[in-house]
């Protein structure tokens, strides 16, 4: 009985379907037929402007310029010959070139092809006036990224360009098409999914002359989200000026929050060269420049830290209880191990921990290193987060490397005492990024609290809640107190290696480093330290690639700190 009811039910359902088919194909068939046979549907994508980027004081760093593109829709073209002759004359582009672009970009009958981008208004008027004569010819609005402050913050910002093939493969699922713009490097890449808008489009029914008959559907493009960065563009300017013509990078971070206030490298580049076609030569020059201006040295470059590495070595020694603050080692200016002479800058005499840090005595740290041993040093270097990604919100961060015995043995190489000595003063295979050292210094300034370096302040007015995670490193408070005392004396002592930074009204502490980098080349010059002031506590890292003595880095730091005082930041 119930089966019968089901049978009737199924019959009714099938009849409904049959009637609907009859309606769609029979009654409305002519209409749909017209739409399909003459392909009278035009789908035109509408580009969405990208979100803007501003600095911590709401100074705009980017903008979108409205430009107009001339496009054609293949299926609607009546007389290709005439159309191209007209366009070639109106746009002042060689006809052959136009035809070539057309053939290269043609993918399907109904997808519009961009023949000329960013057409200037004068030429555009001519096209607009004659447009009605040529079905299939369209003028469409589009946007071009502009970097308002030129090279300022270029490495932080990155740039925007058409998505390339390898990237497209990965991003396809997220709705990117070959015509999409996508961020390359910097914040533009890291926060691309927020910055990029949502592409819209119209689907219209047109008549045989290409005029719109009715709107079938419209999806408004949605502008990308605006984001605010933690950097201060005027501070960035100051940093660039102090770095002028000196290869290297400077990072200034808020010690308490991990906000990056300044991050600049020299050499740098103007991101606009990747956008505007008139700068093509400049772009080629930048791409071929041997000093690699595109490299964000602060996070992607790995360098030996030199004497700055003595800080984690001292942490290792204190934590493993191999020394106390009163332990002294005698510096006679050199140390002989296995027939090789390892030297020091001066004959320092008897040195305790504070003096050794302040004077950056190599002999003290050689002896300390041998006493503590390589295993414990690499362990504590890792605890102090060196040789690890900082996970700053920028793409392609480098990890660096902290040597350890197991790995060397694993590679079938012997670990010599000389290796331990080299490691004790941050030479040999020790490689870190400038940002890693800055974060390490912030951990010390914070008595062990790890801050997360970051660049994002807010996304569409909503504060990016950077978890003020209360993660602490496993190092005792006493150790930090002692290390900090030593770092302060580096600046305070007349003989301290960073005495030039003993500025009035500022509490500056830190560590210098002069890292040997290849036989014939100048050493790398480092200063990494922290500054306490009433307004802000900051950590500063100055790295000069082949910059010579660490004094040079200190002088750059001094210049920046003094300017920051003038600017009322400190």
């Amino acid at each position: 009985m119930r089966i019968k009811i089901i049978k009737i039910f199924i019959t009714i359902l099938f009849l409904i379907i049959a009637f609907n088919l009859a309606y769609v194909q029979g009654m409305r068939g002519k209409y749909y037929h017209k739409l399909s046979v003459f392909n009278r549907i035009r789908v035109v994508p509408l580009e969405a402007p990208r979100g803007n980027i501003s600095d911590r004081n709401n100074v705009l760093l980017t903008d979108n310029r409205v430009v107009y593109n001339v496009m054609v829709v293949p299926q609607e073209i009546k007389n290709k010959e005439k159309l191209f002759s007209f366009l070639s004359e109106a746009l002042q582009i060689d006809k052959k070139k136009l035809v070539q672009t057309y053939n290269n970009k043609k993918s399907s009958q109904f997808t519009p092809i961009v023949l000329a981008e960013d057409v200037n208004r004068g030429l555009l008027i001519k096209v607009e006036e004659e447009k009605y004569r040529f079905p299939g010819l369209l003028i469409q609005e589009s946007f071009k990224r502009q970097y308002l402050l030129g090279a300022n913050s270029a490495h932080v910002l990155g740039y925007v360009a058409k998505v390339n093939k390898s990237k497209l493969e990965k991003l396809k699922e997220y709705g990117y098409s070959p015509a999409s713009n996508v961020g390359y490097s910097g914040v533009e890449e890291y926060y691309d999914k927020y910055l990029r808008g949502e592409e819209g489009g119209v689907q219209i029914e047109i008549n045989s002359r290409g005029q719109q008959v009715r709107l079938l559907g419209l999806k408004e493009p949605v502008k990308g989200k605006n984001i605010q960065l933690t950097i201060d563009s005027s501070l960035q300017q100051v940093i660039s000026e102090s770095l002028s013509e000196i290869t290297g990078s400077v990072i200034i971070m808020d010690t308490d929050t991990g906000e990056i206030l300044g991050l600049e490298n020299y050499p740098s580049f103007d991101p606009n060269i990747f956008i505007e076609s008139q700068y093509k030569e400049e772009m080629v020059r930048v791409l071929n420049d041997l000093r690699s201006p595109l490299l964000n040295r602060a996070i992607k470059g790995v360098y030996p830290p030199g004497s700055v590495f003595k800080v984690p070595v001292a942490v290792a020694a204190l934590e493993s209880k191999k020394i106390t603050e009163n332990t002294t080692y005698l510096c006679e200016g050199f140390l002989e191990i296995g027939g090789t002479r390892f030297g020091c800058t001066h004959v320092h005499g008897n040195q305790d921990l504070f003096q050794a840090i302040a004077n950056s005595c190599n002999i003290y740290f050689y002896r300390l290193g041998l006493n503590v041993g390589a295993d414990i040093i690499s362990h504590y270097a890792k605890i102090m987060t060196l040789g690890q990604l900082t996970n700053i919100d920028l793409p392609y961060e480098a990890q660096g490397f902290i040597p350890n015995r197991q790995q060397k043995l694993f590679n079938k190489k012997k670990w010599y005492s000389g290796d331990t000595l080299n490691m004790s003063i941050g030479q040999g295979d020790v490689l870190v990024t400038p940002l890693q050292l800055v974060r390490m210094m912030a951990i010390i300034a914070n008595q062990g609290f790890v801050v997360q370096p970051h660049l994002i302040k807010s996304i569409s007015q909503k504060d990016a809640d950077y978890n003020k995670s209360k993660r602490r490193v496993a190092v005792s408070q006493k150790t930090f107190d002692l290390i900090k005392k030593g770092l302060r004396r580096t600046v305070q002592d007349l003989s301290g290696t960073a005495h030039v930074l003993d500025l009035p009204d500022l509490y500056v502490a830190g560590k210098t480093g002069t890292a040997q980098a290849g036989e014939a080349k100048e050493s790398h010059s480092w200063f990494v330290g922290y500054v306490d002031s009433k307004k802000k506590n900051i950590t500063i890292g100055v790295f000069l690639e082949h910059g010579g003595s660490s004094q040079n880095a200190c002088l750059v730091a001094r210049q920046i700190l003094m300017r920051m005082q003038e600017m009322q930041i400190l």
Partner: protein
């Protein structure tokens, strides 16, 4: 008469498969997005399928009774594996990758559920007393327990996410409950309770599922996204008019307007190229097949056979109706295939076994 029905079932099944192959040939003909390989793949698989159909029809259908629970739990396990291990294909995890053979456990789930519900329901003893306790017992035994079987599958399939199949599975449950001679009042209260849950379901839908439902209500909301498919599919079917544009000459189809035209939207190819005459013939073939299947079930005395048979008929009819309805814009876009015509081995295989089951039913009914 008996032989007659079986032969008819064979003929209509083969007819539908052939129609599917011809349409698939056109859908993959000179096409950049759908490879020709798809056609040959389906061709070989159809031959294998017909062989399998013959074999299944020879098996005693009571064997399905024996394996019902084992199959149910095996399938449950497969669904779990899919959820936790497999890659996303088209944004959903539906495939199980077994070396060369990729398999969709959610397709098999339909059959497993039908078998397990049929076995469970045919063994439920009617409760004779009418006090409150026995009524609770009745509700528990005849409604809640089968619902549990169904809900487990629904949840995992919904999570894949495959909203269409999840709802379809509820449809099977509902039809089988109805056929199990449960009082009408229970059947309808269940339907009402389920309907009152729908607003909550809205909240757990994925954004694209919400999009599809909204777009169904107004295709112009997002003409380039989900709405595009509906509009284009409607244009394709509609433009076929009375006689169609002819095989291999559908412009919508050949110009790559239609996405997924070899799987869920294959019917739009038929509509465009063969016109109203073609679509009605295809619909008629399905109707005749289903009609004959019903005849077999009506003559069956065995309760398990009837329950499972009706379940199979329900799933077949629902899929045909929903798929065609979706292609012509009557229903929202859900991932439901057109049986025997859409490209896809899992779906094909499951329907072959289902038809085989009823063929086997037709042979044995005289024994009771």
């Amino acid at each position: 008469m008996n032989i007659n029905i079986t032969t008819k079932i064979w003929i209509y099944t083969i007819l539908i498969i052939v129609v599917g192959l011809v349409a698939l040939y056109s859908a993959s003909y000179n096409n950049v997005r759908v490879e020709q390989k798809v056609f040959y793949d389906q061709l070989y698989f159809s031959m294998f399928g017909l062989g399998l159909l013959f074999l299944v029809s020879k098996i005693d259908y009571r064997k399905f009774y024996d394996i019902a629970y084992a199959l149910y739990f095996l399938n449950l396990f497969l669904l779990l594996i899919v959820l936790f291990s497999s890659r996303h294909i088209l944004g959903a995890r539906r495939w199980l990758e077994l070396g060369i053979i990729n398999f969709q456990p959610s397709e098999l789930a339909k059959l497993s559920l039908i078998l397990v519900l049929a076995r469970y329901l045919c063994n439920v003893r009617p409760v004779v007393k009418f006090d409150i306790l026995s009524r609770a017992q009745k509700i528990f035994r005849e409604i809640l327990f089968p619902l549990l079987f169904t809900a487990l599958y629904m949840i995992f399939i919904f999570k894949q996410p495959d909203l269409g199949t999840a709802l379809l599975i509820f449809g099977i449950f509902f039809v089988m409950l109805y056929i199990s001679n449960l009082e009408i009042k229970y059947v309808f209260s269940l339907l009402i309770i389920f309907a009152s849950f729908l607003p909550f379901v809205w909240h757990i839908l994925k954004p694209y599922q919400k999009d599809r439902l909204l777009v169904f209500l107004n295709p112009n909301i997002d003409p380039l996204g989900a709405g595009y498919t509906i509009i284009q599919s409607k244009i394709a079917v509609g433009s076929g008019q009375l006689l169609g544009k002819g095989w291999l000459s559908g412009t919508q189809n050949q110009l790559n307007f239609l996405p997924e035209r070899h799987t869920d939207f294959i019917f739009s190819v038929i509509g465009e190229e063969w016109g109203l005459v073609g679509t009605l013939i295809v619909l008629y073939c399905f109707f005749c097949l289903i009609y004959n299947l019903i005849s077999v079930v009506q003559k069956t005395k065995d309760r398990f056979g009837v329950l499972a048979g009706v379940g199979i008929i329900a799933i077949l009819s629902l899929q045909v109706v929903i798929n065609i309805g979706m292609v012509i814009g009557m229903f929202p876009i859900v991932g439901i295939t057109l049986p025997f015509i859409s490209y896809g081995r899992s779906s094909f295989l499951v329907f072959i076994i289902a038809i085989g089951f009823i063929l086997s039913l037709s042979k044995r009914r005289s024994f009771f």
